[in-house]
């Protein structure tokens, strides 16, 4: 589904990703953990080419994406949903408009059909009653659930989540995680950057620990949380748990 090979990324002189190899299989939930600044967001953003990178390849759904081919990248992004830490909802559109924007404008689906799809996903995230609301009228948790519905509206084959609950008040984290849990249960392929270790333990098929631009260790949640082999992973976990 996703195949990243020897990915290297610099921000100017700063070497942020130092050779990442990552495979994500269909219906797999991969959780990426690691200290702030270790390159987790950058990795996610390289996967859908929001960030340019110097070396390495990214293959999605069996196609190696040509970084100079805008058309190919746009096409690829219609299959790769992304959820951001700060939601990035379109403030000038209602909730439903947010969700149907991609389907109508990018996939050129008819308005009527898109509305049907939009309503379906809004129901899925439990926000049917908010379809006419503007984002500014929603709580953080509701905003993030709309953002998830917006990404799902494109009917992607994989979803990337970049710390989807980090900007939320603690009491709102649960509703977003529960939507994500349901999604995982339905077999959605997911790559999730998060500090929610409970979620990682419960939902992840595989946990990846990143440090300083490298994947230091990966394994099942039991392997990573119960007996991490690498010292750096142990240190990180002892700080966070």
């Amino acid at each position: 589904m996703i195949k990243v090979r020897e990915l290297e990324k610099w921000f100017g002189k700063l070497h942020v990703l130092k050779g990442i190899d990552l495979d994500v299989n269909p219906s797999e939930v991969v959780v990426i953990i690691g200290a702030s600044g270790s390159g987790k967001s950058t990795l996610l953003r390289c996967i859908n080419f929001l960030e340019k990178f110097k070396k390495g390849t990214v293959e999605i759904d069996g196609k190696v994406i040509d970084k100079n081919n805008e058309k190919m990248k746009n096409e690829m992004r219609t299959h790769v949903g992304m959820v951001f830490q700060h939601f990035n909802l379109f403030p000038h559109m209602t909730v439903l408009q947010n969700v149907i924007e991609g389907p109508t404008q990018v996939k050129k689906i008819s308005k009527a059909k898109a509305v049907e799809i939009g309503k379906y996903y809004l129901e899925k995230v439990g926000l049917s009653d908010k379809e006419a609301a503007y984002p500014s009228m929603l709580s953080g948790g509701q905003k993030q659930r709309v953002a998830i519905a917006r990404a799902l509206g494109m009917e992607p084959s994989v979803m990337l989540f970049d710390e989807p609950t980090s900007a939320l008040d603690p009491e709102l984290v649960g509703e977003v995680l529960s939507v994500m849990k349901d999604l995982a249960g339905e077999g959605m392929t997911m790559v999730v950057v998060t500090h929610e270790m409970g979620f990682a333990r419960e939902v992840a098929d595989r946990v990846i620990y990143m440090d300083d631009g490298l994947i230091v260790e990966e394994g099942t949640p039991e392997e990573i949380f119960n007996n991490p082999k690498v010292e750096r992973t142990q240190e990180f976990l002892s700080q966070i748990l």
Binding site: L50, N74, V106, M154
Partner: protein
């Protein structure tokens, strides 16, 4: 000094053609300024030096010199080459002048929209162009409205400089009438009343637009 109020009423009708002239120069100047401003804003934001260098140069030169100089330059300075009519010169000068300021207003508004908006749009598969049109510009326009309103009022007042190139707008009319009837204060008062009337309308109009936009949507 005597101030004759009845003169105000008596001479008021004489100003009406000049009042139209002021509106004509202002409206056409703003229209041209908007077109130039938008084009320049995009050129200025382009990464291609072929676009952004001319845009920078244009903004630099126009903002760095007085409008009066620009007017005189276009009308008298380039007379031997262009031989433009006074009204054409006035509209073009005002348009070019305002274009530079409007470009900066649009650029600022576009840049003030968080990068996350562009990223969210691109992550849905939108092209840069589509994301600009559907996501960034509607938000940017909204943000540009208060400074645009300001700029339009400045343009209105600046249209008085066209008097220097023989355009019979409000200020020149006032001066000309005063030179024959010696009611300088009264003539200037009438012109001032017209300007205040226009600026009030502009202010009111922009207020309405802002209110309307505030209702539809957030921020």
């Amino acid at each position: 000094m005597d101030y004759n109020v009845s003169v105000l009423i008596e001479y008021f009708p004489y100003f009406i053609p000049a009042a139209w002239k002021t509106i004509e120069v202002t409206a056409l100047g703003i229209l041209l300024g908007m077109v130039l401003g938008l084009l320049t804003a995009f050129s200025r934001l382009s990464k291609n030096p072929l676009f952004n260098v001319p845009a920078r140069l244009y903004i630099f030169m126009i903002r760095g010199t007085p409008l009066l100089l620009q007017l005189l330059f276009l009308y008298f300075g380039l007379r031997s080459i262009l031989n433009l009519e006074a009204i054409t010169s006035a509209v073009i000068a005002l348009g070019i002048h305002n274009g530079a300021y409007i470009a900066e207003i649009f650029r600022g508004a576009i840049q003030s929209i968080a990068v996350g908006q562009m990223e969210a749009a691109r992550s849905l598969g939108m092209t840069y162009r589509k994301a600009m049109i559907r996501i960034i510009l509607p938000q940017a326009f909204k943000r540009a409205i208060p400074p645009l309103g300001n700029q339009f009022i400045i343009a209105l007042k600046d249209s008085s400089l066209a008097s220097a190139i023989t355009i019979k707008e409000l200020l020149l009319k006032a001066q000309q009438l005063a030179s024959s009837n010696y009611y300088m204060m009264e003539m200037l008062t009438i012109a001032a009343i017209f300007y205040l009337f226009y600026t009030s309308i502009f202010t009111w109009l922009f207020h309405k637009i802002e209110e309307k936009l505030a209702v539809s949507g957030s921020r």
